[in-house]
C-alpha cells in the first residue's frame, strides 16, 4: 500500500478515536465544561498536559531547528522544559487549592479587582490567539503534505474535529482526547528516532546513541571541514547574554501560559496537582531528550547522503524527488561541477534544507515501511489538534466565564453559562480557522509575544500573590501594566520599526525576562507604598498555603454522588 493510502486510513482512524472519546466525555454543567469536573487522575492529567504543551512546532520543527543551531538550539530544550519546575514548585499546587476555573479568576479574586481581572483576560486571549493561529496552520500543512489536499480543506477538517469534542465535552472532552493524542504523538516520534539511531549507531535508544556514539564527534569534524562552527560549540549564533535571556523568557513564559496553568485545575486535589506536573514533564522529556538526537543524526545523515555527491546519484533517491517537489529541499549545481556542495555561504551553497524536513523525512531517509510515514503524519496532527483545543478552551473560558459571568451578568443561570461557554468555543474555532487559512503576515514574528507577554504579565503577578501576602491590588495592576507595556513596546519596536536591541543586544525573544523583572519590582514596591490588602484577602492567602484537608472538595464529591 502507498504511504498516502496508509496515511488516509490512520488519520481517519485517529479522528474516529478522538470523536468517540469526545462523545463519551460530553458534559452537562460548567464545572465539567471548564475544569473537567476536577476528576482527572494525576498521570492522565500529566499526559494531557504534555500533549497540550507539545505543539505542531515541537513535533515537526524543533529537532530541525536544533540541527541547524547546534548548541544554541538548547534555548528551546531548556526553555520549554525548565519552566515546569517553576510551575510545579511555585504555581500549580496553589492554583489547584484556589480551585476556581481560570487564570484571570485567580488574579481577579486574589487582588479583589475587576481591573486586574480584565487586564488578565486581555493578556490570556491575546497570548492564546497568537498561539492557536499557528496550530491551525500546522494542521493544514500536515494535511497538504501527506494527503495532497489543499491547506484550506485541511484547516476546515481540523476545525470540525476540534469543534466536535470541544463543544460537546469542553475541558473533559479535551482532556481525554489529549491523553489519546499524547500516545499517538509520542509513538510517532519515537519510531523513526529509534530507527535512525539504530541505522547510524546500532544502538536503539536515541538518548544513549547520542551520548555514547561517535556521530556528534564526526558531525563536529564535518561542520568544521565545510566551514560551519563546530556542532557543539556554544554561542556561535547568539551571545551568552541573549541565550540566557531567551532561555529564561521561555521558561517563565511556559510557567505563565494560561492553557498550561488551567490543566492543573482539573485534578482532584493539591497532591495530584504536584504529581501531575511531574508526570507531565516526564512525558515531555521523552520527546525533548529524543529531539537533539534526531537533530544531530538527521543532519549527519543528510550531509553524508547529499554533500559532494554526483547530482545524478542524488536525484535517483525517491525521497529527494518528493521533498524537492514540496520545495522543502532545494538542489542547484551553481558551479556546474556535477556535484552538490553544502557551504555556509548562500552564494555558493547548493543544498538548501528546510528545518521541517528533518523530522518529516526521517522515515524515508532511514528507509522505513510506508506505514511509519503515516504514523508520523497522524502524530503531527495529534500534536497540532491537542494544543489547538487546549488554547481554544482558554479563549472560551476567558470570555464566557471571566467577562460574561464574573463581570457582565453575575446572575446568569448555570445552563445559560454553559451555553455561552459552548458558543464561545465555536466562535474561537472560527476565528482560529480564519487565521489558519489567511495567516496574517506577522504570525511568525509575534510568537515571541506569546511567551514574552506570559512571562511579563502572569508569572510575577501570580507568584507574588501566593508568596507575598503584602502584595495588593495597586501593586499587581501597576506591575502587570508596566511588564506588558515594556515588553510589547520592545518587541514591536524591534520587529516592526527597526529599533536596535538597545538592552545589551537582547533580542525580542528574550526581552520577556526583563519585562518579568520589571513587573516584579514594580508590584513589590507599589504594594509597599500603598495600604496592605484587607483581612479577607490575607485569609484567602493563608488558606492557599494551608496543607489541611480541603472541605470544598469533599462537599463536591457528595454532590456528584447525589446526581
Amino acid at each position: 500500500m502507498s504511504p498516502e493510502a496508509w496515511t488516509t486510513i490512520l488519520v481517519i482512524l485517529s479522528f474516529i478515536l478522538y470523536g468517540y472519546i469526545g462523545w463519551r466525555s460530553r458534559v452537562k454543567d460548567t464545572r465539567g465544561f471548564f475544569v473537567a469536573e476536577q476528576g482527572v487522575p494525576a498521570i492522565a492529567n500529566g499526559a494531557a498536559t504534555a500533549a497540550d504543551w507539545m505543539s505542531a512546532a515541537s513535533f515537526i520543527s524543533m529537532a530541525g531547528l536544533i540541527s541547524f543551531l547546534g548548541y544554541d538550539g538548547s534555548i528551546y530544550l531548556l526553555g520549554w522544559t525548565g519552566g515546569y519546575v517553576l510551575l510545579a514548585l511555585l504555581l500549580a499546587p496553589y492554583l489547584r487549592k484556589f480551585g476556581k476555573y481560570t487564570v484571570p479568576d485567580f488574579v481577579g479574586d486574589r487582588y479583589d479587582s475587576k481591573v486586574a481581572r480584565i487586564i488578565a483576560v486581555i493578556a490570556a486571549i491575546f497570548v492564546s490567539l497568537t498561539y492557536v493561529a499557528g496550530q491551525m496552520r500546522g494542521v493544514g500543512i500536515v494535511f497538504s503534505r501527506f494527503l495532497q489536499v489543499n491547506i484550506e480543506t485541511g484547516v476546515v477538517i481540523g476545525m470540525v474535529i476540534v469543534a466536535f469534542f470541544a463543544i460537546l465535552g469542553g475541558m473533559k472532552g479535551i482532556t481525554w482526547t489529549q491523553v489519546a493524542q499524547y500516545c499517538v504523538l509520542i509513538f510517532a516520534y519515537l519510531i523513526p528516532a529509534i530507527a535512525i539511531a539504530m541505522l547510524l549507531t546500532g544502538n536503539p535508544i536515541p538518548q544513549l546513541a547520542f551520548t555514547f556514539s561517535d556521530i556528534v564527534d564526526k558531525l563536529n569534524g564535518i561542520q568544521v571541514d565545510l566551514g560551519f562552527a563546530e556542532y557543539t560549540k556554544a554561542f556561535s549564533s547568539k551571545t551568552m547574554l541573549d541565550v540566557l535571556f531567551i532561555t529564561l523568557a521561555l521558561m517563565v513564559g511556559t510557567a505563565g501560559l494560561p492553557h498550561v496553568i488551567v490543566r492543573f485545575y482539573t485534578v482532584p486535589n493539591v497532591r495530584a496537582a504536584r504529581y501531575s506536573a511531574a508526570w507531565a514533564l516526564l512525558f515531555i522529556a521523552i520527546l525533548y531528550t529524543t529531539a537533539p538526537a534526531v537533530g544531530a543524526f538527521a543532519r549527519y545523515n543528510l550531509i553524508e547522503t547529499l554533500h559532494d555527491k554526483p547530482i545524478e546519484t542524488v536525484q535517483e533517491l525517491d525521497w529527494v524527488e518528493k521533498w524537492q517537489n514540496t520545495g522543502l529541499l532545494q538542489l542547484e549545481d551553481k558551479n556546474n561541477d556535477d556535484r552538490l556542495q553544502l557551504t555556509p555561504d548562500a552564494e555558493t551553497n547548493e543544498i538548501t534544507i528546510d528545518r521541517d524536513i528533518i523530522v518529516l523525512s526521517t522515515p524515508e531517509v532511514a528507509k522505513l515501511a510506508p506505514w511509519v510515514i503515516a504514523v508520523v503524519a497522524a502524530g503531527g496532527l495529534a500534536a497540532a489538534l491537542s494544543t489547538a483545543s487546549g488554547l481554544l478552551l482558554v479563549i472560551s473560558s476567558s470570555v464566557a466565564h471571566d467577562l460574561y459571568y464574573r463581570i457582565i451578568d453575575p446572575t446568569a443561570s448555570e445552563s445559560k453559562r454553559l451555553l455561552v461557554g459552548r458558543f464561545m468555543v465555536g466562535i474561537a474555532i472560527a476565528v482560529a480557522g480564519y487565521f489558519g487559512i489567511n495567516p496574517p503576515g506577522f504570525v511568525a514574528q509575534v510568537v515571541a509575544f506569546a511567551f514574552g507577554l506570559a512571562a511579563a504579565s502572569f508569572f510575577p503577578t501570580i507568584v507574588l500573590g501566593i508568596f507575598d501576602s503584602r502584595t495588593n491590588k495597586q501593586g499587581a495592576i501597576a506591575g502587570m501594566i508596566v511588564g506588558l507595556v515594556f515588553t510589547t513596546a520592545y518587541i514591536i519596536g524591534i520587529k516592526f520599526y527597526g529599533m536596535p536591541p538597545w538592552f545589551f543586544g537582547v533580542s525580542a525573544e528574550g526581552i520577556g525576562t526583563l519585562g518579568m523583572v520589571l513587573n516584579a519590582i514594580v508590584t513589590w514596591s507599589v504594594s509597599r507604598l500603598t495600604p496592605p490588602p484587607p483581612a479577607e484577602i490575607q485569609a484567602f492567602v493563608e488558606n492557599l498555603r494551608s496543607p489541611l484537608a480541603e472541605p470544598p472538595a469533599l462537599a463536591d464529591i457528595g454532590e456528584e454522588e447525589l446526581d
Partner: protein, 95 residues
C-alpha cells in the same frame, strides 16, 4: 495554637522550594549556559559535558526535581495533618 503546625509546614515548604530551585538554577543557568564553555573541556561518553548538560542532563534533572518535591511534600503534609489532628484531639480532651 491551631496555626502552628501549618506555619511549620509553610516554613519547611519554603525551605524545600529554596533548595530545589537552587539546584534548578545551578543546572539550567550555570552549568548549561554561563559555564558551558569550561565544562565542554570535559567529555561524557563521546560528547562535551556542557553540551550534554544543556541538551540532555538538565532535562533529566528537572524531572527528578519535580518528583522529589511531590514526594517530600507528601511527608510534610502528613506531618502537618497528624500534628493538627493531635492538636484538635487534645483540645477536645480538655473540653
Amino acid at each position: 495554637m491551631h496555626d502552628r503546625p501549618s506555619q511549620r509546614y509553610w516554613k519547611s515548604n519554603i525551605a524545600l522550594i529554596r533548595i530545589l530551585l537552587a539546584i534548578w538554577a545551578l543546572v539550567a543557568i550555570f552549568a548549561s549556559i554561563l559555564f558551558v564553555e569550561p565544562l565542554n573541556a570535559i567529555e561524557i561518553g563521546q560528547i562535551p559535558f556542557g553540551f550534554w548538560i544543556a541538551q540532555q542532563g538538565a532535562i533529566f534533572i528537572f524531572v527528578i526535581l519535580i518528583f522529589v518535591y511531590a514526594i517530600r511534600m507528601d511527608v510534610l503534609e502528613k506531618q502537618a495533618n497528624d500534628e493538627d489532628n493531635r492538636d484538635s484531639a487534645t483540645s477536645n480532651d480538655e473540653l
